[in-house]
Symmetry: C2
Subunit: 588 residues, 2 copies
């Protein structure tokens, strides 16, 4: 239908006749000439029709914005060149214009940013915007680049089922009633975890899949009901084999997709160190701020909150410098406090260092009175605070204090403009094997129940479950966990022991994971892997906060597709075919 | 963990020390030496341990089949070479053997073909068999090759949702209750049809996706609940653009994946011609047999079944030669009749041409008596039958006669050994736009309701709906429809008219397809596409009848995964969270 793409018409074509197809981007009459910007996938070109062209002039003048047209004409040099676009030095003098599909007046102008609800309802118009095209294409290039890298290295791309058995990875499963099995249900996979382990047992050696995964969880801004991960698994490996391989992959893919050179070697940090220095298992290293532990300094001070936690076996007292925040208003301080409270703080003490040379006199703080001069000076020194800075304090049990001060650190970084430029990758390793769940009074798996412990000995693991470290690892980039994985348990006895420690009895284990335990009995090789969040990596590469900008048809935070109207009611007769009915509303 | 793959150890490594990981394929003691075939992803190598090796000899002798081991040893030339494998000229003299995971006695021997139920239950053992590895790798290479071809040509790989709105493509949808919207449901897509059309409206120009699709239909041998298609769509194209492009792709991918050169130009045939000559819209051209239409010859004969249909406006009388079937037994003839009956025949008349030179005397047939000599001779000539052949006859309405004689043609081809070697691709075009559904007393779409008619004029289409031809096309290979597509309707008025002809009222159209009709209003470009069945193409390439051989974790014909046990009952409390309940059994 066309001889060239609009966006690729340039000086080389001057004097030639071209046929172009595209959308009317803008259309204006000026000095008896119609100027039409025609746009396609590759960009834009200017079409001109003089008033002496009779019928053609009228056709051109009447073109509505976003109509589809086919234009034949000759390419000529343009008076006022537009250096921003490839076709900016030429224009096409139209000889024929065919309206392929006239556009009605638009619900919103495709070249302006409308509200997200409108954009999602008319997603086809939203996606036509060059910004959206650009972000979507970044994602497409990312996935292409990943596949190329993996294919070249012999990773086998294998599809695993979407209709499968209810899985046990913490989140809620989506359920699908089975027509041929009344009262039974398939579940959509939260990840291909068990299938990829089975593939290693099946002898596939190295596997990958760009896999759709499903979690029926409350939607936060950066979550979708369905999401995409690069799922990988390797047989006969240790954690360093996996890490080194995928670190090389990520480095090459960043270079290939967006031209960014990441560190030649990603820094490494244990979970314990990350919590100690940054209060997060995915620290954003673009922010230079670090915690100072001051429990030793305040064990005997007069501030009860501090002394209580400083003397508690599981307590922590943290000082965090806020560079340049000495001038903050009461309102700003309160906002910081509210943010910390949202993340578990019961209060947020602070000091403003108005003049470091003046000692106590230079410090503005409601809690300064609780410390003697030496302690006060030691605290300021420990925090590294100088004139013009503030210090915020957190005291609580280790985890709570770390969590809310970690959240505060991110807020300070942002509010104070301290988030550095560039890309800061990081490996976080040596995660705890288990977390104690107070409510359930049992251990829960920090990664998932198939993660191998660092110790090989079952008795050792049982005896030291509380402090046991796993063979799990996360790849973090600019404060985002972009990948997570582990070496898996490959011996049935160890897998049974871990189920047992997690309170999964033999019967439940058999019912839920019998096939995995069976598979491990028949010569399962040592294996491990990792999964990367494609939506998040694409969003980071595209420079957008929202993963919805790199998903063609995302759902809202209320789990709806505004374009198609999903979900929707289904006639009862159709539900009867799959042996379910809508539950009558609870009378309460 | 390893220095080399087992299957890649060869003479170049003689004298070197290697460390290998793999499974014990076989293990035998012979003349005080343990011979172990160690197998990995790349193949096998022989490990030897002499009886003078003490503890190592015992370890080696005790290895159970399919155990995972790590072996370190030196490579040396082997006495009796095995030319079939790369490592056949060498063996590894073990110095160290580490049992990584001992295998229990196997439920079936991984190197024998067990029953399919056992194979699917222990799929991880089944997949270890070299035949299965080979078939799965053919599929993997096929998909790689397709992607490479498409990526190089600027097709954009875009993911579309799995949780979407109930779609209308004929088959039954899988439903997913929506937790956040009580009483509402998502549906799994039968194909990304509407999304890919929307992507063209959204300006993506050329799209592809290796897409998972779902149809809740009765499972036949070659169907799965979920299947994979290469889904493609092009903007600004005519049917020839699409066909020529994907024909080139299929040709290159066959060469690349299995080294097969397909025809430089695929033959083309209209739907009408395919039905006339072969009684099928996906004729297997490897079978040279063709129908002879003999209605003109039998209009006035004495065989009422023939004369009735020969004089009927919509009737058809077909003769089909069965080369070499004159010697068939009564039982064989009856089997042919039963096969035709299964496909709609009320009876199957036949003639055996025992001696063509003898005229009526040489013909053995219960119906010969109904024809005069001239007619009899004309029938034999029309069918092209010679001494030793049989002729089968079908008389019915056009569609029924074509269908059952088409089915018979395939059976004859197979039973008589007439299926030629090689690959016979074909384009089938000019499908009818509509089929009349007697039961529903309305038209149904032969492709789907978004397929464009060959005529552009709505009044013309309405006036000639019965004979209207669509812009649909199928790619057929060896009797399999491997791809199907069409140019789509891109104007809202035409789309509404087609909905109307299909008995989809304005209100229903708005409720189900409002977003499509809206999208067509805002400058939808002319567009079209195609979808290829990946499972089927992979099975053809791998030389297997069953698509289950090229799917890692297939379901049975009763829609179960024997390995995981899906589907399974779900606790009522969990169903309550998504606002459904299992329907009480119908008291009847």
């Amino acid at each position: 239908m066309r001889t060239h793409f609009c966006g690729l018409v340039d000086e080389a074509l001057i004097g030639q006749t071209v046929t172009l197809c595209g959308w009317v981007n803008t259309n204006r009459v000026q000095s008896h000439v119609v100027f039409t910007d025609l746009r396609d996938h590759e960009g834009m070109v200017q079409i001109v029709v003089d008033s002496d062209m009779g019928e053609l002039f009228k056709t051109a003048g009447d073109l509505s914005v976003e109509s589809c047209v086919r234009v034949t004409g000759s390419v000529r040099a343009r008076g006022a060149a537009n250096d921003k676009i490839r076709s900016g030095k030429v224009e096409v003098l139209a000889e024929r214009i065919e309206v392929l599909n006239k556009a009605e007046p638009l619900p919103f102008h495709a070249h302006e940013n409308a509200g997200e609800e409108t954009r999602l309802t008319y997603r086809y118009l939203d996606l036509r915007r060059p910004e959206m095209q650009k972000m979507m294409r970044t994602r497409i290039r990312l996935v292409q680049s990943l596949r190329r890298w993996l294919d070249e290295r012999g990773f086998q791309d294998i599809e695993t089922p979407i209709l499968t058995k209810a899985t046990p990875e913490g989140a809620r499963d989506f359920l699908v009633p089975a027509r041929m099995h009344p009262g039974e249900f398939y579940a959509l996979p939260q990840s291909p975890q068990l299938f990829k382990q089975i593939l290693m047992v099946a002898g596939f050696d190295r596997y990958y899949q760009i896999a759709r995964c499903f979690r029926d969880e409350a939607l936060r801004a950066d979550r979708q009901l369905e999401f995409t991960q690069l799922d990988m698994e390797f047989a006969w490996v240790s954690e360093r084999d996996v890490q080194d391989t995928v670190e090389g992959m990520i480095r090459e893919v960043f270079k290939d997709t967006i031209g960014v050179e990441l560190d030649a070697q990603f820094p490494r940090m244990t979970y314990a160190e990350a919590m100690r220095r940054y209060g997060s298992d995915k620290p954003d290293l673009r922010i230079a701020l670090e915690f100072a532990d001051i429990a030793e300094l305040v064990k005997t001070c007069e501030f009860k909150v501090f002394t209580d936690w400083a003397n508690h076996a599981d307590g922590r007292v943290i000082a965090l410098r806020a560079p340049g925040a000495a001038g903050w208003s009461r309102k700003q301080i309160d906002e910081a406090g509210a943010h910390a409270a949202k993340h578990g703080a019961k209060g947020l003490a602070w000091m403003k260092i108005e003049d470091a040379s003046k000692g106590r006199e230079g410090i503005n703080s409601p809690i300064a009175k609780f410390f003697d001069d030496a302690t006060l000076a030691a605290i300021v020194e420990a925090a590294g605070a100088q004139t013009g800075d503030a210090i915020f304090f957190g005291a609580a049990d280790y985890k709570t204090a770390s969590d809310f001060m970690g959240a505060l650190r991110l807020k300070l970084g942002k509010d104070l403009g301290l988030v550095g430029e560039g890309w800061k990758p990081l490996w976080v390793t040596d995660f705890p094997m288990f977390e104690w769940d107070e409510e359930a009074q049992r251990y829960v798996a920090l990664h998932h129940p198939f993660t191998a412990p660092a110790v090989d000995d079952i008795a050792d693991l049982r005896a030291n479950a509380k402090t046991a470290v796993s063979r799990g690892y996360d790849m973090v980039l600019n404060g985002n966990e972009i990948g997570g994985g582990s070496i898996r348990i490959h011996r049935p006895q160890m897998q049974s022991a871990v189920f047992d420690l997690l309170g999964i009895g033999a019967e439940e284990a058999e019912a839920k994971f019998g096939f995995l335990l069976d598979a491990l009995k028949y010569g399962a090789p040592p294996h491990g892997g990792i999964a990367f969040g494609i939506d998040r990596i694409a969003a980071l590469m595209a420079g957008t906060e929202s993963i919805r900008d790199v998903i063609a048809f995302p759902k809202t935070t209320t789990a709806q597709c505004l374009m198609t109207g999903a979900p929707s009611p289904i006639p009862d007769a159709q539900l009867a075919e799959v042996h379910v009915m809508v539950r009558p509303k609870d009378p309460a």
